[in-house]
C-alpha cells in the first residue's frame, strides 16, 4: 500500500473533525476525497502530509509508519489551494527550491527544472515572477514545484478551487495526464463532484469527519450505501418504498407491509408517459409537471406526485406539508421529442431502475400521547440529529394504531414507556427507539445482543446509527459468572466475530469487552459509567427481554436512550 491510514482521528477542542478514518491507497492510484466544506477532507490530507498532528491512529507511507514524522521528513509533494508560491523568487527558483534544500548540484537542478517546466507546459518561464503569471499558470508552477524532489505521493488540496471553469477543466486534464505519466500515487481533495468523476480512480466521500464510502466512481453512483452519498454524488430522489411479494411498491396502500426500504431513483431513470398503460418500466404513480427547465442537451423538470404516490424520505423538500412529493426528472432530447410535456400536464411516472439503500433504518415515526409530545420528541437532540444527518423522514402518530407504524417507532422514555415499547415489538416493530426528550447526544454507545443470532442485524443498525452520531462504541459480551469453559470460549468467538464483522461489513470500529456476571447488572453498571450513554439491544425473540429491568433503564433517572432491534422480524423472508 502506498498510503495507509488506520483509525485516524483529529479533534479540535474536543470536536472530532476527522473521525476514525481508515483508508488504503494503492501505488499509482488517483484517489479523490470528496465532501462538502467542513467535512474534514482537507484536515485528513494535511494529516497525511504531516502538516497537522493527529490525536489518534496511524499514517503509513509505503509501509513505513510516519505518524510521528514531520512534514519535512515525510517527503510528499503538496499542492495548496492558493498555490503558495514564493512571491519573491522567480519561477525557476520556486521549482528548484526542494533541490536547493537538498543541495543538489546546479547542473542537475537546471536539467530537472527544464524537465518540469516542460511537463507543465511552461517552458521559458524560468525568470518570471509568480505575480506575472495567471492563476492557472501559477498552479502549474506549484505542481511542478511539488514534483521536483520526485516524491512518491502527491497530495492536492482543492488545487482548482481558485480558478475559473475553463482553466479548471484544462488544468484537470493536465493533472490527470501527469499523474498517469509519472504513475504517482495521488490524493486530491475537492467539493466538486464533477471534478471527482473526471479525475478519480476511486472516490472517498467524507461527511462530518467520517469517510462514509469509498469506491469506484460508477459503483458509488449506481450503488451508494448511504443517503448522503446518493444525494451528494449526482442528483437523486430518495423514496420510501415497501417490499411486497410483488416487488417494491411505492404507493401508500402498500404501507401495510412492515418491510420499509429506501430507494434511490436517479432523475435520468424516471420515465414519463401519458398514462399508466404506456409506462414501459415499473409504474410508480401519477403526477403533475410543475416546473420545466430547458438545459441544452437535457431537460430538467419537477413532477409533483399525487398524494397516494410515493413518500419522499426527507421531509421539507416539497415545501407543501408532505402532500405528495416532488420528483426530480431529467430527460434527454429523444425522450423530449417522443413525449413533449408542458407545466400542468398530468403524467404517469415509471422508474427504469431503482437502487435500494442497504440501510437498516428507513424512517422514524414518533409515537406519543399528544401532538405536543410528538413535537417535543421530534425536536429531541438525538432524533433531530439523526434525521438531519441521515436525511430521513420523521412521521408522527398520536396513540397506538392497530399495529406498529412502518419504519422505526420512536417513543419517549419515562413512566409507562417500557409497556409501550413492549406493545410496539409485539405488534410488528422490527426496531424501536426510546429517547429521553431532552437528553444530549450519546457519546458512548453500548451494544449488546441477547442471543448470537441477533448479532448481524444489531450491528447493522448500530453501525448505521454510529455513522451519523459521533460516539464511542463498545460491544459487550456477558457470560454467567460460573459458566463452563466451553461456554466462555463460544462467547469469545462471538465477540471476535462481532468485531471483525463490524469493521469489515460496516466500517465500524468498536471496542469489545467480555465480562462475567448478570446481564442486567452489568449493562446497567456500564450505562451508569458515563453521563451520555446509550444502549443498543439486539434480540431474536422479544419475549426474552427482561422488561422489569428494561423499565429501570427507561423509566429510571436519568433515563437513557435505548434502541431495540428485533432481528427475527428484520431478517424474516418476505411473506408471499
Amino acid at each position: 500500500m502506498s498510503i495507509a491510514l488506520d483509525q485516524v482521528t483529529k479533534r479540535y477542542q474536543g470536536v472530532p473533525v476527522v473521525n476514525d478514518v481508515s483508508l488504503n491507497v494503492r501505488q499509482g492510484e488517483f484517489l479523490v476525497l470528496l465532501g462538502p466544506s467542513g467535512s474534514g477532507k482537507s484536515t485528513l490530507l494535511r494529516a497525511i502530509a504531516g502538516l497537522t498532528e493527529i490525536d489518534h491512529g496511524r499514517v503509513s507511507l509505503h509501509g513505513k509508519d510516519v505518524t510521528h514524522l514531520t512534514a519535512r521528513q515525510r517527503q510528499v509533494g503538496f499542492v495548496f489551494q492558493h498555490y503558495a508560491l514564493f512571491r519573491h523568487m522567480s519561477i525557476g527558483d520556486n521549482i528548484e527550491f526542494a533541490l536547493r534544500v537538498r543541495k543538489v548540484r546546479a547542473s542537475e537542478r537546471v536539467a530537472r527544472r527544464k524537465e518540469l517546466l516542460k511537463l507543465v507546459a511552461l517552458e521559458g518561464m524560468d525568470d518570471r515572477l509568480p505575480a506575472q503569471l495567471s492563476g492557472g499558470q501559477q498552479q502549474r508552477v506549484a505542481v511542478a514545484r511539488a514534483l521536483a524532489h520526485r516524491p512518491e505521493v502527491l497530495l492536492m488540496d482543492e488545487p482548482f478551487g481558485a480558478l475559473d471553469a475553463k482553466i479548471r477543466e484544462e488544468l484537470r486534464r493536465t493533472i490527470r495526464q501527469i499523474q498517469r505519466e509519472l504513475k504517482i500515487t495521488t490524493i486530491l481533495v475537492t467539493h466538486d463532484q464533477e471534478e471527482a468523476f473526471a479525475l478519480a480512480d476511486r472516490i472517498g466521500v467524507m461527511h462530518q469527519g467520517r469517510l462514509l464510502e469509498c469506491g469506484r466512481p460508477d459503483d458509488l453512483y449506481t450503488r451508494p450505501a448511504t443517503r448522503f452519498v446518493s444525494t451528494f454524488l449526482g442528483a437523486a430522489n430518495l423514496l420510501l418504498g415497501y417490499r411486497t411479494s410483488r416487488g417494491v411498491r411505492f404507493d401508500a396502500r402498500s404501507a401495510e407491509s412492515p418491510r420499509e426500504i429506501v430507494a434511490v431513483l436517479r432523475p435520468e431513470e424516471v420515465e414519463l408517459a401519458t398514462d399508466a398503460a404506456h409506462v414501459r418500466s415499473n409504474f410508480v404513480g401519477h403526477g403533475v409537471v410543475e416546473e420545466l427547465l430547458f438545459g441544452g442537451a437535457v431537460e430538467r423538470l419537477r413532477v409533483r406526485m399525487s398524494s397516494d404516490g410515493p413518500v419522499p424520505v426527507a421531509p421539507g423538500n416539497d415545501g407543501n406539508g408532505g402532500l405528495g412529493s416532488l420528483l426530480e426528472v431529467s430527460r434527454t432530447l429523444p425522450e423530449q421529442r417522443q413525449f413533449p410535456v408542458t407545466p400542468g400536464l398530468r403524467v404517469a411516472v415509471g422508474a427504469r431502475r431503482i437502487h435500494i439503500l442497504p440501510t437498516p433504518i428507513s424512517s422514524f415515526t414518533v409515537v406519543a400521547g399528544s401532538e405536543d409530545a410528538t413535537r417535543e420528541l421530534t425536536d429531541s437532540p438525538l432524533l433531530a440529529t439523526l434525521c438531519t444527518r441521515m436525511q430521513t423522514r420523521v412521521g408522527s402518530q398520536v396513540g397506538n394504531g392497530h399495529r406498529a407504524p412502518p419504519g422505526m417507532p420512536v417513543l419517549a422514555t419515562g413512566a409507562g414507556s417500557a409497556d409501550a415499547a413492549r406493545w410496539q415489538l409485539q405488534n410488528g416493530a422490527t426496531q424501536l427507539l426510546c429517547v429521553p426528550p431532552s437528553a444530549p447526544l450519546p457519546k458512548h454507545v453500548i451494544i449488546h445482543t441477547l442471543d448470537p443470532s441477533a448479532r448481524r442485524a444489531t450491528l447493522a443498525v448500530a453501525a448505521s446509527l454510529l455513522r451519523h452520531v459521533a460516539a464511542e462504541a463498545v460491544y459487550l459480551v456477558i457470560h454467567p459468572a460460573e459458566s463452563l469453559e466451553a461456554e466462555r470460549a463460544a462467547r469469545m468467538r462471538d465477540l471476535l466475530d462481532a468485531r471483525s464483522s463490524a469493521l469489515n461489513d460496516h466500517g465500524l470500529d468498536m471496542r469489545t469487552e467480555m465480562r462475567p456476571g448478570d446481564v442486567a447488572q452489568e449493562l446497567q453498571a456500564e450505562l451508569a459509567r458515563y453521563d451520555d450513554s446509550m444502549l443498543v439491544l439486539g434480540t431474536s425473540d422479544p419475549a426474552s427481554i427482561r422488561w422489569d429491568w428494561l423499565a429501570n433503564v427507561l423509566e429510571g433517572t436519568p433515563p437513557r436512550p435505548v434502541l431495540i432491534v428485533n432481528s427475527a422480524r428484520l431478517e424474516a423472508p418476505v411473506e408471499a
Partner: protein
Amino acid sequence: MASSWFRQPSILPGFGLTLGFTTFFLSALVLLPLAALILKTTNLTWSEFLTTVLDERAVASYRLSFGAALVAALINAVFGFIVAWSLVRYEFPGRRLVDALIDLPFALPTAVSGIALATVFSPTGWLGVRLQEQFGVQVAYTWLGVVVALTLIGLPFVVRSVQPALIEAQRDLEEAAETLGAGPFYVFRRIVLPAVLPALVTGFTMAFARGVGEYGSVVFISGNLPLKTEITPLLIVIKLEQFDYNGAAALGFSMLLVSFVLLFTINLAQAWSRRRHVGAGH
C-alpha cells in the same frame, strides 16, 4: 496633464480637496516651522555656522545621538521581531495583556520612563547594583544608559509595524517550504524574513528616527556629561537656556539635514527592493 489628475475616481471627496488639506497640514505643521528654523540659521554667517556645528562638543553629541539611536534600533529590530512573532504566532495566557503593554512606551510621558529607568539602573538602583557587582557594568550615566532608554522608546515602532506583516504572511508558504524539505532555519531565512523585511525596515527606521530626536527619557539616565553622554537635543536646549537662539537653530538644522538624508535613503532603498521582489504585476 494637470487637469486629468483631478479626475481620478476615489471614495473620498475630491482629489482637489484632499490634496488641499494635505498641503495645508504639511505646510502649517511641518514646513513652516522648519522654514522658520532655517531662516533663523541664516542669521549666522557661514563661519559662525560651521564653528557652532563642528564644535567638538557638538560632534561628540551627534555621534552619541545617531550612534545610540542606531544601536537601539538594531536591538529593537531583533527583539521587536521576536516579540511580534510570539504575539502573532502563539496563543498563551496573558497574550492580550502583553500586547497592550507594548504600547505603553508610546503613551507614557517620556520623562516618566526616563526617571523610572534612572531609578532602576542608577548605581544604587535595584538593577544597577547587581550589574555593577556581577559584571562590573555601569549603565546609568554612560552611553549604555542612552541606548537602554532609546531601546525602550523604540520598541513599539518595530513591534507594531512587523505585527500586521506577520499576520498577513501566508502560513501555507511556510508549510509549502516545509513539505519541500526545508528545515526551520531555512524556512525562516528564505521565506519568513523576505516576507516581513519591508515592514521590519519600516519599524527600524521609525525607531531610529524617534531615537535620534528623543530627549525626555534620555536626559535622566545619561548624566549629561559634555563630550561623553550629552545628546544633541540636550545641547540644543542648553544653547536655548543660554539665549543662543542662533546656535540652537544651527544645531537643529544640521540634525534635520542628516535625519532627512538618512530617512530618504532608507525609503528609496525600500521602494527599490519592493519593486524588485514583488514584480511589475503588483
